[in-house]
């Protein structure tokens, strides 16, 4: 739940101003993080011929990059907690650049795994987590919109990189392209330069000025976390903030998010990977099949900011977890209905709806985590979440591929993904209904407790004054 900025963060997030420049920086960083591994597939055919390896061996380059990006989440979180977002993003940009430049001189496939996969993946991890974290520090009221805009980076950069990579490949071959991509990815450093640490000296405003819908659940959850934090701080003064906050595993909202997401990721990316092959299997030509992916990216691009805007409205913001559950359910239903799509028109319709569903889900993915955890703990939370999600993200497409090979038909894979996502959507609805109820109860309890403590404080204040009055008299 978003903590009341006043009680938890100790400052008022700007909700604008330089924040929009930070959102633009996050847009670039997140865009490169998600789109870069996918866009490298353009080069695979020639690299495969050059090194005389099989396609699966070359596809490992992308997988290693993605795996390292997710697995290095906690490392990224520790560094952000210690040094802030800006240095980490700039170092990340330098690392990816160095990885690509080294890879352009590569002499073996192992060389590529290490340079592009490990070093590149690490650099991208240092871009992803800090970008997400810093958006949370700059925005509170307009945070869903800011998150939606930042996440739009992924389809936009992918849409730009895919034809750019093809152009570079035609002009310079794969080695020259890797060199130039190393320079292009250095723009993440520019994005990092934009990520000025937020000014925390602005005094918190009185509670009455904040939108009431937002502050009610905030104070309940924040008090819950406050108690936990005080306990941990008494054990280790300040070192929790410097490293990973493992107390998150006792957090109810975090556990709901984590458990649902781990299952959800198994079925989330596979349909994207298999969309074009499924179209070709239906007898559609290669160009039109590839065009489906372009439609998907275009719809995704527009839906993400719109979702952010919707999430910001006063009807949805207080219950944004339900909006996220709806998005997951929408994805599931789309996939379940996909085998009914007939011909190219049917597939285009499916792609449009899938693009909408996927965009909604991705725009809200980190917003709901911030909503549950609060911006303070977000960097630790996202690090833990990404390393645990690493498994399903990597295993999802190969398992789906195995399903397709086993049955010889794509529809079972779509059914499986649809069932997983629908089940997760329903799980989220139920669990968040329970969570909101609990939060309302806790809020009532904490309000009652605050009234009691403020009454006691008034009584305590009275006694030293009386004492002073006696001394003065005596």
């Amino acid at each position: 739940m978003p903590p009341a900025a006043e009680t938890k963060l100790g400052y008022t997030p700007p909700d604008g101003g330089w924040g929009w420049a930070v959102v633009f920086g996050a847009f670039i960083s997140i865009g490169f993080s998600y789109a870069f591994p996918k866009s490298l597939t353009v080069f695979f055919k020639e690299i495969q011929a050059y090194f005389s390896v099989s396609y699966s061996e070359i596809a490992w380059v992308s997988s290693v990059m993605l795996a390292t990006m997710y697995a290095a989440g906690p490392v990224s979180s520790i560094l952000v907690n210690r040094y802030g977002s800006r240095p980490v993003v700039m170092v990340g940009g330098l690392m990816v650049s160095a990885g690509m430049v080294l890879a352009s001189f590569g002499t073996s496939i192992i060389h590529l795994y290490l340079c592009v996969g490990v070093i590149g993946g690490l650099g991208l991890a240092f871009n992803l987590q800090p970008s997400l974290a810093i958006v949370g520090t700059y925005f509170h009221v307009k945070r869903p919109l800011a998150n939606g805009l930042a996440m739009t980076g992924s389809p936009v950069v992918l849409f730009t990189l895919a034809p750019l990579n093809q152009f570079l490949f035609d002009c310079f071959g794969w080695r020259g392209s890797f060199l130039i991509l190393g320079a292009i990815v250095l723009n993440c450093c520019v994005a990092g330069a934009l990520m000025r640490p937020v000014n925390k000296s602005v005094k918190p405003q009185p509670k009455t000025e904040t939108p009431p819908a937002v502050s009610e659940e905030d104070s309940a959850q924040s008090s819950d976390l406050q108690i936990e934090e005080n306990q941990t701080e008494s054990r280790c003064q300040g070192c929790v903030q410097r490293f990973i906050d493992f107390s998150l595993f006792k957090h109810r909202g975090f556990l709901i998010y984590l458990s649902g997401n781990v299952v959800m990721f198994f079925g989330l990316f596979a349909p994207v990977v298999f969309l074009a092959p499924y179209a070709r299997h239906q007898g559609i030509d290669e160009y039109s099949s590839a065009f489906l992916l372009s439609i998907f990216a275009l719809v995704d691009m527009f839906v993400r900011p719109l979702t952010g805007l919707l999430g910001n409205t006063k009807w949805i913001r207080p219950r944004i977890q339900y909006f996220f559950s709806f998005a997951v359910l929408f994805n599931g239903v789309c996939h379940l209905l996909c085998p009914l799509a007939q011909g190219y028109a049917g597939l285009v319709l499916y792609t449009v709806f899938f693009g909408m569903a996927f965009g909604m889900l991705c725009a809200l993915l980190f917003e709901v985590l911030m909503d549950l955890i609060g911006a303070q703990h977000f960097s630790s939370a996202v690090g833990l979440v990404t390393i645990i999600e690493c498994g399903p993200v990597l295993l999802g497409p190969p398992i789906s591929g195995a399903l397709v090979d086993a049955f010889g038909d794509y529809k079972y894979m779509f059914y499986a993904c649809g069932v997983i996502l629908t089940a997760c959507g329903i799980y989220f609805f139920v669990m968040h209904f329970y969570n909101y109820k609990k939060l309302d109860e806790e809020r009532k309890q904490s309000l009652a407790a605050e009234r009691r403590t403020s009454e006691e404080a008034v009584k305590l204040k009275m006694s030293p004054d009386d004492k002073a009055a006696y001394e003065a008299e005596g």
């Binding site: 100790g10 040094y83 802030g84 320079a183 250095l186 000014n199 925390k200 701080e233 300040g238 903030q241």
Partner: protein
């Protein structure tokens, strides 16, 4: 060329002498393979001409007795007889000029050609007078996958040039590679320069690996798939460039990044100076020292919480 013409002529004379038919040709479904010496398989290509001309592609791999048949429904004035003749590669085959009779409202021209070597391939045309024509293009199968854009590689590096035949079509007996030398093609012999060239043949594909590239290696490379009677040719262009080529955009982009980062940081410094000039010292401390600032942030708020609790 003339030797094979002579051979063909001789065979035709034999054929004609043995069967005795010269002028009238009837549309017969079976091919009268009256030459007892040839054990070749036979094949037929029949074209019913609609309009004035037509082109038919015929893919041939192995030696065959190929019967080419042209059927034409004639034009407005259907004369009872019309001269039918055959051309090979534009040159008329005088010996087999015949007069075709109108039968069942159609004219039919039919000829069996023995295809045993590369010279027998080419363009065969049957003509009805000067009015109707069918071209048969006899050639080997088309190469399946060839890259239409040039392959780019670097000086000192090695490159793999690949030619692939469609796996649905039969696989070639062998592969040859040629390098364009002016207008000629020079064959690349594996044994001649083993340090430079390497040819790896698979069933439907062939790879030419060129090591230690120099700029002189740029140009067209031709892969030739050899079948029993035909060959098929594909070409790929290779472009060899030095590392300086991609280095130029690389440096340009790096300069752009440095300029932008410097501009952003300078702008930030000037903003914070304005704030400190305005007299707000705490703000200046916060923005001037970003790294310890972030560090102190959580600690400050934790201390405030402790005070509150």
């Amino acid at each position: 060329m003339s030797a094979s013409w002579g051979k063909l002529f001789f065979q035709l004379v034999l054929l004609l002498a043995s069967c005795g038919h010269i002028n009238t040709k009837t549309p017969s479904p079976t091919s009268p393979s009256l030459d007892p010496i040839s054990p070749l398989p036979s094949d037929i290509r029949r074209v019913v001409l609609k309009g004035e001309s037509h082109t038919e592609k015929v893919e041939l791999l192995n030696p065959v007795d190929l019967a080419l048949e042209c059927i034409w429904s004639g034009n407005e004035n259907k004369s009872p007889n019309i001269t039918g003749y055959w051309r090979k590669d534009g040159e008329e085959m005088q010996s087999i000029r015949v007069t075709v009779q109108l039968e069942n409202d159609k004219y039919t021209l039919r000829q069996v050609f023995k295809i045993v070597s590369k010279e027998n391939l080419g363009s065969y045309s049957c003509s009805f007078g000067d009015e109707a024509k069918v071209d048969f293009l006899l050639a080997g199968p088309q190469i399946g996958e060839v890259r239409d854009k040039p392959i780019v590689s670097y000086v000192g590096d090695s490159v793999v040039v690949k030619c692939k035949m469609d796996e649905k079509k039969p696989k070639p007996v062998s592969w040859n590679w040629y390098r364009a030398n002016g207008t000629d093609k020079e064959q690349i012999f594996y044994a001649a320069e083993p340090q430079k060239y390497e040819i790896k043949n698979h069933e439907w594909a062939t790879k030419l690996v060129v090591h230690k590239l120099t700029e002189g290696d740029s140009g067209f490379y031709y892969c030739e798939g050899v079948y029993a009677v035909s060959t098929t040719m594909g070409h790929v262009e290779l472009k060899v460039i030095t590392f300086l080529e991609p280095l130029k955009p690389f440096i340009a982009i790096i300069v752009e990044v440095i300029v932008l980062v410097a501009a952003i940081l300078i702008y930030e410094k000037s903003q914070s100076k304005k704030n400190s000039a305005g007299g707000n010292e705490t703000n200046a401390d916060q923005t001037n020292t970003p790294t310890p600032g972030d560090n102190n942030g959580p600690e400050e708020s934790s201390s405030t919480r402790q005070r509150k609790a």
